[in-house]
Amino acid sequence: MPDRTLMSTEKKEPILPDPSGRRPLLERLGREWLFFDGGTGTILQEKGLKGGELPEKWNLSRPEDIIDLHCGYLNAGCDIFNTNTFGANALKYPEDLSQIVEAAVALAKEARRRTGREDAYIALDIGPTGRLLEPLGDLPFEKAVDLFGEVVRIGAAAGADLVLIETMSDSYESKAAVLAAKENCDLPVLITNVYDSTGKLLTGGTVDSTVAMLEGLRVDGLGVNCGMGPEQMIPIVKRMTETASVPILVNPNAGLPRTENGKTVYDVDPETFAQWMKKIAAMGVQAIGGCCGTTPEHIRRTVQCVRGTAPAAGHEALEVQGEQGVPFVPNTPKHRTVVSSFSQAVEIGEKPVIIGERINPTGKKKFKEALRENNIEYILTEGLNQEESGAHILDVNVGLPEIDEPRMMETVVTRLQSILALPLQIDTSDPAALERGMRLYNGKPMVNSVNGKKESLEAVFPLVRKYGGVVVGLVLDESGIPETADGRIAVAKKIYEAADRYSVPREDVVIDGLAMTISSDTKGALVTLETLRRVRDELHGHTILGVSNISFGLPQRAIINAHFLTMALQMGLSCAIMNPGNEDMMCAYRAFLALSDMDPQCMGYINAYANAQRTKVTTAGLPARNSMADGRNDGTPAADGRNDGNSAAGGRNTGIDAADGKNGAGGTGTGSGSAMSLGPCIERGMGKSAADAVRRLLDSGIPGLEIINNELIPALDRVGKGFEKGTIFLPQLLMSAEAAKAAFEVIKETIQGGEGESRGRIILATVKGDIHDIGKNIVKVMLENYGYDILDLGKDVAPETIVETALKENIALVGLSALMTTTVVSMEETIRLLREKKPDTRVVVGGAVMTQEYADAIGADCYAPDAMATVHYAEKIFG
C-alpha cells in the first residue's frame, strides 16, 4: 500500500539542475513553448503492428522500432515524448509489467542519446485501464489507483521525467490516475482528456467540471488530446483558456478518423495541421503536440510554425523561410470558486446557490434508523428529492456515534454520485471520514468544514490541498464564537491565512458567518448579517450559512427562515444550506433572484409559479409546498448554466411522483382519484391516491393493522395472482407494489413506535461478477411489500460477504440473482460456501439464464422464475 498519509504527499522537492544539463520541466512548462510528440499507434501500424496486437509488447520484441519512433519525434523538435506504455498495466500485463515499463523508459533514453536531444523530457505515458470504475462498472476505485500506482513506481524508478496521463474519457478514472501519480512519485503530473464533439467526456464531464477537479488535485498541466482534429477542438480549448489556471496542453488527432480497408486513417496533412495548431497556440495554450494520425512531419511543421525557429540540428534543410512564430503567453489564475460532480460544475459567487441539508441524521429518527440498518436507499431518496426540489449541491452528513462513519461516508458518496449529478458537500467532523469522502468523490467537493482552531486547520487544509475542494470556514476558534462581527472577521482572516500556508487558493474558502438562533440572543441575526457584508466588501470572499438555525426554538420557523434568507442574500450570501423542500424558503430565494436581476426575464420565477394554484396558504402567506406541482425546471443556476439532459442523472424528472395523481384516475369512471378506495388505487398503481385513501380510512377510525389485513394485502394478492395468470404484467405489478408501499408508509407513521412487524429477514444479492441488479431489485420491492426485511447486499457481491452476513445476522433465506451464464459459477460457489458454513440457510435463485435444471445442478433450494415465486417461497419458509 502506497503512503497515503497527508503531509507526506505535499513535499515538493527543491528543483535541482539535472546532471545532463536538462532544466527541470516545471521551470519551462508554462513559461515557454513546449512541444509534445505525435501519434504512436499509427506509426507502429505502418511498421507492422496488427489491429488488435498489444503495442507495448514491442518494447521487448522489437525495441529498434520503438527507438526509431522516438527518434523521429525528437528529430522533429518535440520537447516531451511518451514512453510506449499507454496500455501498460497489470490487468493487461500481469506477468511482465516491470520489464515492459522499464524497457519503455530505457528505449526512450536510448533515443534521446542517439539523437543528442538530452534536453528532451521522457513522459511516462499512462492511458486508461479499459475498465469502468464502480459502482457503474466493476473496477474498485482503489484498485484503479493501485494499478496506476504500480506503473508510476516502475516508470519513475526507471528514470522518467514526468507522468503524462492521457486519453482519459472518464473523470473518475482520471482522478484515480492523478492520485496514483502524486502518491507514488515526485515527478510533474500532466493530464489530457478526450472530449467529443459536444464538448464532453465520454462519461459526461464538461470542460468546467473536469478542470475544477483536476486543478483541485493540483496537476501541473491539463488539456485535451485524441478524439478529434485541431479544428474540432477549438471550442474545447477556448473554454479551457477561460476556466483553467494551470498550463493548457493540446494534442489533437490529424483530423477525424476515417476507415479504409479495415484501417483507421486520418486526413489532415502536416502543413494543414500546423496551420491549425498555430491558431490554437494563439488562443493562449502553453504546450502542443499531436495524437492519433500525426507523424514526425506534423510535429516538425507545428514546431516551425509556432516557435518560428529551426527544429533540432540536422534538419535545417526543411526550415521554411519567414516563419513568424506565435508569441508565448503564460496562463493566468482565474480565481473562480467552483465545485463539480462527474458532469456538472457549480460556480459559487455568480448567483447564490442552494445546498440541500436533508442528508443529515440530526434530529431525524428515520434517518438514524436508516444509517444503523445500512438502508442506503433511504438516504439516496433524500438526495433525489432534494435535487427534484431545486438544490444545486447536496450536503452529506452520515455521522452517528455507533456506526463506522468513514465507511458509511464512502458508501453514501459513491452511491449518490452514481445516480445524481449534483456536486456534494462532505460534511463531517471526523477527519478519516472526510478523507474517505473526498478521496472517493468523483469531482471537486465542498468540504464542511474547517474552523479557526489550530487542530481543525491542521486536519482539514492538508486534505483540501491534496484532493481539492471548496472548504467552509466556520468563524469560531479556541475562544469560542465571537459575539461581534469584528471578532468573526478576525477568525475569517485567520482561516484565509491558513489557506495561504497550505497553498490552497483563497477562492476555495467560503466563510460561514454562523447563524445563531435569535430566540436566545436577539442581536444574533444582525451580527451574522454584518459578518456576511464585511466578508463580501472587505475580504472579497464568498459566504455560506446554515440558514434555518436562525429560528431555532421559535414557532412557525418557516416565516423567520424565509425572511432571514432574503436579508442574508441581500448581504451577499453565496450559499444557503437549507431544505430545498421548504417552499417558503424557495419562494424567498426565487423572488430574490427575480428582484436582483439574477433571473433573466424572470423566467425562473415564472416557470416555478405560473401554474401554481394558491389552494393552500401557509401562515407566512406563501403558497404551500404541494401546490407547486409543476415548479420543477426553475432556471436556478444549474451546473454550467444549463441542464441539458446529457448528464443523465442530472435531469430533474426523477419520476418519483410520476404516473400518479393527476393522471392516475384514468379509466376509473370517477373522474377523480380522490374518492377512490384503497384496493383499486393499489391495483391501478396510484401511490398518492392510495396514500390519501389510507388517510381517509385512518381518519374514519379504522386501525392501521386492519387496513393492512383487510384492504392492502388482499389487493396485493389480487395483483400477484393476475401476474401469475398472465393478465397483469411486470410494470403493473411493480406500480401496484409501489402504491402499496406508499400506503404502508402512511400506516407506519400512525403505528406506535413507527414499526410494522417484520415477517422475516432475507438477504438479496447479485452474485460476484454480475453487475446487473434490476432483477434483484424487482424481487426486493415485492418482498418488502409482503412485510419482509431485506438486507440488500447489492451487485457483484463476493460469496464470502454473503456468507458472513448470513452468519452474523442469522439469516434463514438468501436470494441470489445472476444474469449471465458466466456468473452462474459464482452463484454455485456462493451456495457451496453457504452449505459449508451455514447449512440451515435456504437459497432461492433467479435471473435471466436460470432454469429449474440449472438451479438443481448448482444445489439451490428453489428456483424462482419471477418475483412472485420468491414471495411464495418466502411465505413457505417463514410461514
Binding site: G51, G52, L132, I419, N653, T654, F729, M735
Partner: protein, 266 residues
C-alpha cells in the same frame, strides 16, 4: 432512432399484448428521458475472413457447396513469421479438424458463426453503444421507482437494437458499393460464439478509446446498452435479416426471443 415500441412491450413480457394506458404513458416518458440521456456512438471496420482447420488437413469447409468460391487457405500451425495470430485462445482439443475462422487476427471456433459466415470472404466488425446515460437513469430509477427502472431497461434495450439497425444500414450501403451482401449481424454470446471474444472486439475496435465501452471481468460491456457484432459480407444475395434472433440457436429457450414471441401471438 426509430424505436419499435412493440419491442419494448415484448421485453416487458407482454407477449404480443398492448399494455394499459398507465404503462403506455410511462413508456413514452421513459423514451423521452432516454433520448435526452443517450450519447449514441459506433465504430466499425471491414476485415478479410480466413479459414483453417485445427489439424491443418485439407477438407471441404462447413456447408461449402460445389460451385461456391474457394476460401483462402492458409496453414494454421506453422504460420509464416510475421503473420502469427497474436490473440491466443485455447481451443477444445476433443475434435481435431474443427473449422476455425480468423478475422482481424481473432481466431474463432464457432459452428454457429461459421454457418452465419459461409460464402463470406470478409466481414465488418462493429460496436455500438448508447453511452452511460441509460445506465445512470436506470440506477437512479432503481432507487426512486422500480417500475420505471424496468420500463427504462426495456426501452433502452429496444433503443440499442434500433441504433444497431441504423449502424447496420450504413454497413449494408457500404457493402452494396462493393457489390456485396450483408449477413445478419452476429454477436458474441449467440449460439456457440463465445462471449470470450468480447476481449478481441475490445482490442481490435479499440472500443474503450473510440466509443467509451469497457468490459467487466465477466465480459459484460459497460455502458450496458452496447453491442458488438460480426456482419458477414457475401457475394451471394440472401433474404437479409437485420436482426439476429433468427440465427441464434438459443432462440428457442430465450424468453425474449422474437421467434417465440411471434409463435405465442394470439
Amino acid at each position: 432512432m426509430n424505436v419499435d415500441k412493440r419491442e419494448i412491450y415484448r421485453y416487458l413480457g407482454y407477449q404480443g399484448r398492448v399494455p394499459d394506458e398507465n404503462v403506455l404513458r410511462e413508456v413514452d416518458r421513459c423514451l423521452e428521458e432516454l433520448r435526452e440521456a443517450v450519447t449514441p456512438r459506433f465504430v466499425y471496420r471491414q476485415y478479410p475472413i480466413e479459414r483453417f482447420f485445427t489439424d491443418n488437413i485439407e477438407r471441404p469447409f462447413l456447408d461449402e457447396k460445389p460451385g461456391a468460391e474457394l476460401f483462402i487457405e492458409k496453414p494454421f500451425l506453422d504460420e509464416k513469421p510475421g503473420t502469427e495470430l497474436f490473440i491466443d485462445r485455447p481451443f477444445s482439443e476433443e475434435k481435431p479438424g474443427t473449422e476455425l475462422l480468423s478475422i482481424a487476427g481473432m481466431k474463432i471456433q464457432s459452428r454457429s458463426l461459421c454457418r452465419n459466415l459461409r460464402d463470406c470472404k470478409s466481414a465488418y466488425l462493429m460496436a455500438a453503444t448508447l453511452g452511460i446515460g441509460p445506465d445512470r437513469l436506470i440506477a437512479r430509477a432503481s432507487v426512486a421507482k422500480m417500475s420505471r427502472a424496468v420500463i427504462l431497461q426495456a426501452a433502452a434495450a429496444a433503443m440499442i437494437e434500433a441504433w444497431c439497425d441504423e449502424v447496420n444500414q450504413k454497413i449494408i450501403k457500404e457493402a452494396e458499393d462493393q457489390g456485396l451482401y450483408c449477413r445478419p449481424r452476429f454477436s458474441p454470446g449467440y449460439g456457440d460464439f463465445s462471449l470470450e471474444y468480447q476481449k478481441d472486439f475490445a482490442q481490435i475496435l479499440r472500443i474503450q478509446k473510440e466509443i467509451g465501452v469497457s468490459l467487466t471481468q465477466s465480459l459484460l460491456m459497460m455502458p450496458s446498452k452496447s453491442v458488438t457484432a460480426v456482419i458477414g459480407l457475401s457475394p451471394v444475395k440472401k433474404e437479409c435479416a437485420l436482426h439476429g434472433c433468427e440465427v441464434c440457436s438459443k432462440a428457442e429457450e430465450c424468453s425474449f426471443s422474437r421467434i417465440k414471441a411471434l409463435e405465442q401471438q394470439p
